[in-house]
């Protein structure tokens, strides 16, 4: 009986560490998205501040290509929307992982208690 519980615990622990790894990855990803969104926000502010006839260039590889201000603004806005959506997705993912982690932790605690009880009996 004790062995079985121990085996179960081992399995749960492995699961938990896997989820924790995934969780850390998800958080790092979200942080990256956050910083991207902030950078885009700053760029948009800058573009809005520019005069209508100002020249805007986009860096494509090693060359600067002239771009329409209107087009650039639209582009950045679209990108911000996309990143915001991605952030929402990442948030949901993180939330789900948190829940999973908690459930596993609880399960583990229960198993630990069972094991202790068994040991006391023996």
């Amino acid at each position: 009986m004790a062995e079985e519980i121990q085996r179960k615990m081992q399995k749960e622990l492995e699961q938990l560490s896997g989820i924790q790894k995934e969780y850390r990855k998800a958080v790092a990803q979200k942080q990256q998205l956050d910083s991207q969104l902030n950078e885009n926000k700053a760029v948009k502010e800058e573009l809005v501040l520019l005069k209508k006839d100002a020249e805007v260039y986009k860096l494509i590889g090693p060359v600067l290509v002239k771009q329409d201000l209107e087009e650039a603004t639209q582009n950045v806005t679209k990108r911000m929307e996309y990143i915001s959506k991605e952030i929402k997705r990442a948030d949901d993912h993180i939330f789900a992982l948190e829940n999973k982690q908690e459930a596993l932790q609880e399960n583990l605690n229960k198993l630990k208690n069972d094991l202790n009880k068994l040991k006391l009996k023996a």
């Binding site: 950078e39 885009n40 573009l47 260039y57 986009k58 860096l59």
Partner: protein
């Protein structure tokens, strides 16, 4: 370029330190240690950014109409230069992020770098404030740990005698 909000995150609530046991306190302390390192790192990065903006700002100051026609060595790669001549002293191209470059006149460029420096400095101040806040909590936790340890030792002594 992350903006820092000083508002408390949702889901945060006050915890009475004296109600936590030693293990929990240690865990909290470790967490705070980590957070403080993050703050230090961010501060470092912001300082570098601030320095870059300031440097660029100083460079624009030096771009006067007198510079027109003056020769300059243009870096083609990191280790190769070709001679060139400044033909336009009224405009500069500024990297505004995410691969976009905007043409601005000298006044606009000065204003841009000034704004950026102010922005970064503001963020740095915010982080500094947060850091001070965290180190206060850190101190409180350390004190609580010490108190609990002493209480435990005392209890052990009493039990022994």
């Amino acid at each position: 370029m992350a903006t820092v909000s000083s508002a408390p995150a949702p889901g945060m609530h006050q915890i009475d330190l004296s109600k936590l046991n030693l293990q929990q306190l240690a865990q909290l302390k470790q967490q705070l240690d980590q957070e403080m390192t993050v703050f230090q790192d961010s501060l470092q990065t912001l300082k570098i950014a601030q320095g870059k903006f300031m440097e660029s700002g100083e460079c624009v100051e030096k771009m006067t109409p007198d510079c027109k026609g003056k020769s300059i060595l243009v870096p083609l790669t990191g280790s190769m230069y070709i001679p060139g001549e400044i033909s336009d002293t009224d405009h500069v191209l500024i990297d505004i992020g995410t691969g976009y470059y905007a043409q601005k006149d000298i006044e606009g460029a000065k204003d841009y770098f000034q704004r950026k420096v102010t922005f970064v400095t503001e963020q740095m101040d915010k982080i500094k404030m947060l850091g001070i806040e965290k180190s206060k909590i850190h101190k409180a936790i350390c004190m609580m740990i010490e108190m609990k340890m002493q209480a435990q030792m005392q209890a052990a002594k009493q039990a022994a005698s």
